[in-house]
Amino acid sequence: MKGKRIFPAALIIFLALLIVCPLLSIFARAAFPDGHFDLTSAINTLKENENASMIASSLLLGVLVVIVSSIIALPLAYIFSRTEFARYRFFDIIFMIPFMTPPYIASMGWILFMQRRGLMQQLFPSLAFISDWFFSLGGLVLVMSFHVFPFMMTMMKNAMLSVPSSLDEAGSVLGIPFRTRLGRLFMPLLTGNYAIGALLVFVKTISEYGTPSTLGRRIGFSVFTTDIHRYATVAPIELGKSASLASVLIGICLLIWILQNYITAHRTYSLISGKGGSIRIRKLSPAAKGAILIFIAAVVFFSMIIPLFSVIASSLIKLRGYGLRAGNYTIGNYIAVFTEDKQGINALLVSIFLAVSSATITAVLGTVIVTAIRNARKSIGNIIEGISLLPEMLPSIVLVLGIMLFYNGIYRIIPIYGTIWIMVLSYVILFLPYTIQYVTSAYSQISGSLIAAGRICGAGPLYIFMHITLPLIARGIASGWMMTFIIAFRELVTPSLIAPTNTLTVSTYINRQFEQGSVGKGMAMAVICILFSTVSLLLLNTVINRKKT
């Protein structure tokens, strides 16, 4: 029985080394600039005019994106939970697309579309006035909202689905008009869920690097993530400043996380108890139906069609100077990605290697961790779970900065800084929470009686795990693997901060071509990237579903 105590303890130490130490080295770098405790330089960094205004604009951006994505997401959530449109499951897949398109690719698409004499002005010269407006904070908010809204939409849709219609009917029987019911009954029940969704969107926005680093840079709008990156990579390097800003960002994220936990505990209502309430679908008048269709079409047009059209069109244009014009199209950019030099094909191979290796390692590690959590005492289990989910609460740029500082510092003991293995490590840390969540939810569906049955029949713990538990959680593990694979394939933050000499991934290849090479080649790779993730999602989905039957 000794092993039962030692193993969880060893796991905690391992996770602390893996996740907590890099974070601590950020605080250390910020608070111990010359080896002894001294907060003045950190405070001075924050007092600097440009940093103070950067923090203000980061928070402003977060608030604005919450507002705009609510305007998009709330009506959609209602439409897809309470009206006839709830039946069309096909929209669930459609609204996955903005999520499947990496934000840096989408914002490159927007830039190419909106820029002066860009695609929009070539198609509709009279709309030129929009361009000037677009390259401003407003445009940035719009692009980020169109990326993040499906997230809030899904959350709110599920929340609305859990409000049984019986409550609404009760109100209706009492003669309360629809508007009042909506305002007094429906909405108050959802404020808790909305607050959680809004906070998550806020954190996601201030943690996002892709859009600010492309569109934000274009309009000279700095936020936390871009400044942390700049101080850590552009001469003169000031890691202390980078670490100070990262510390503040960690503080904000943890604060929001605590707030969110408080709201979950105090402001959400358990609406499903006993027999599940039924949802009554509202019948719509043709006019309402038409208006809704127009709204959905507009959202699809702005969040998907414009960026995708722009990326695909740019990948097919032969001479950039002539733009969209008959005879000026070519597939040469795609050929050039593979043949012009080894960079394109190497970038693809590196990304595939990183995606496969990190997905596999996190699948194994995540399963071990979740199994340990379930077998350990509750308090120990909570510690393990808390540490391993930490990476999800924090912006990836912060974690990667921590990894960079920590492994640079212990280079003599573990010499992986500057090699591809530090990238594998970083991916594992960043994406571990996905596997943990998938495996945990798979575990929660296993009834204890199955295990008990195994025990009664005389099976040992290993036998039970291999023959009862593992087959039952295999789908959860596979889903976690798949998610990690797709997200790791296009990861941008890690490679742009700690890629070794000579190593490009798909994301940095696209970025580099967009910024300093041939836009056509960059966009060709972007199309390949989107196709690759979509096809692997579909492929793996069918494989996993087939396994089930």
């Binding site: 000279g220 990579t233 100077g321 012009e340 960079q343 500057g418 000499t501």
Partner: protein
């Protein structure tokens, strides 16, 4: 009967390749990427020494060197800015060496301490979109005229070494008036060299000042609607220094690579990439020759002192 001879020759060649220097040489070099790759591949084929390259803008290369100070990786560093090369020399990072063929180099493209080897050079000029301006020959200062309002771009001099040297040289010779007027006329900074060229190619702006010429020549050869000229009050031709790091992990390979850069084959590749070759005996006809480019009198020491702050000032002036 010839087969055995060929086999023996091959064996000898591979043996000599091994003897000459197995191992690797790590080279940090700026664009154009195509040239960097070709040089690396040819050097590998000739010597058997594997070339690890890091390709980035001058700004990125300098940043990389700074992060790696504790664990130096680079053997040879090539920059697109002569003044940045001089400041690396001043901080004592460079090894002195007399490469083969250095006697054939353009006078002045090797420094007196024999640490900076200008194996190629570029000049900056005015690049314009011919769909927007069919012809153009305005001098630098004239581009601040109202007719070019909001239609001028400049590469980010903190990223582009060539642009940085030009700004330093121009300001040193003529002062700040022109740049202030251009900034007041709505000049924008789209990014490093390629991004700036992209802006003028797509017509986002009509005119790019201080754009590197080799990029423009290569786009023009592709058929893009561009043209380039060197304004009459002169420009800066900046030799691109290749330098051997004092901290080079592999000094012998580093020296071999620098020798190779000045070899006839490498110099021909330089010319094919529309750069000015570092040796005077290489013939080319795909671009303006050194003699045809009007130049500003360059005081490189004075320019080195102001180049970084001047580059930062450009970005401040153009900030919207």
């Amino acid at each position: 009967m010839k087969k055995p001879l060929i086999i023996i020759a091959l064996i000898l060649a591979s043996l000599s390749a091994f003897a000459a220097g197995e191992g690797i040489v790590t080279v940090y070099m700026p664009s154009p990427a195509g040239l960097a790759n070709k040089l690396a591949a040819d050097f590998e084929a000739k010597t058997g020494i594997e070339v690890q390259t890091f390709q980035g803008t001058t700004g990125e290369i300098l940043a990389r060197l700074e992060t790696e100070k504790a664990n130096p990786v680079a053997d040879v560093v090539i920059l697109a800015s002569w003044s940045d090369g001089l400041s690396m020399k001043e901080s004592g990072q460079l090894e002195s060496y007399t490469p083969a063929n250095s006697d054939k180099m353009v006078p002045g493209w090797i420094d007196e301490d024999s640490m900076l080897f200008g194996y190629s050079a570029s000049a900056v000029g005015v690049i314009y979109n011919t769909l927007i301006y069919p012809t153009l020959d305005a001098d630098w200062a004239e581009l601040a005229d109202p007719e070019f309002r909001n239609d001028i771009a400049i590469p980010d001099p903190e990223l582009s070494g060539a642009c940085k040297d030009f700004v330093a040289g121009y300001v040193n010779a003529y002062g700040w008036d022109t740049f202030e007027a251009l900034a007041g006329n709505g000049m924008v900074v789209p990014g490093a060299n390629r991004a700036a060229l992209e802006a003028v190619t797509t017509g986002e702006v009509g005119v790019l000042i201080a754009g590197v010429d080799y990029n423009a020549y290569s786009s023009m050869a592709d058929g893009e609607p561009l043209s380039i000229y060197y304004p009459e009050s002169g420009t800066v031709v900046n030799p691109r220094p290749a330098m051997i790091m004092k901290s080079a992990p592999d000094m012998e390979n580093a020296k071999a690579f620098v020798d190779y850069l000045l070899s006839e084959d490498a110099q021909k590749m330089v010319a094919e990439a529309y750069l000015l070759p570092g040796r005077t005996d290489i013939q080319f006809d795909n671009r303006s020759t050194l003699a045809e480019i009007p130049q500003i009198e360059c005081d490189w020491d004075a320019m080195m002192d102001i180049s970084s702050s001047a580059a930062a000032r450009i970005n401040e002036l153009c900030e919207r």
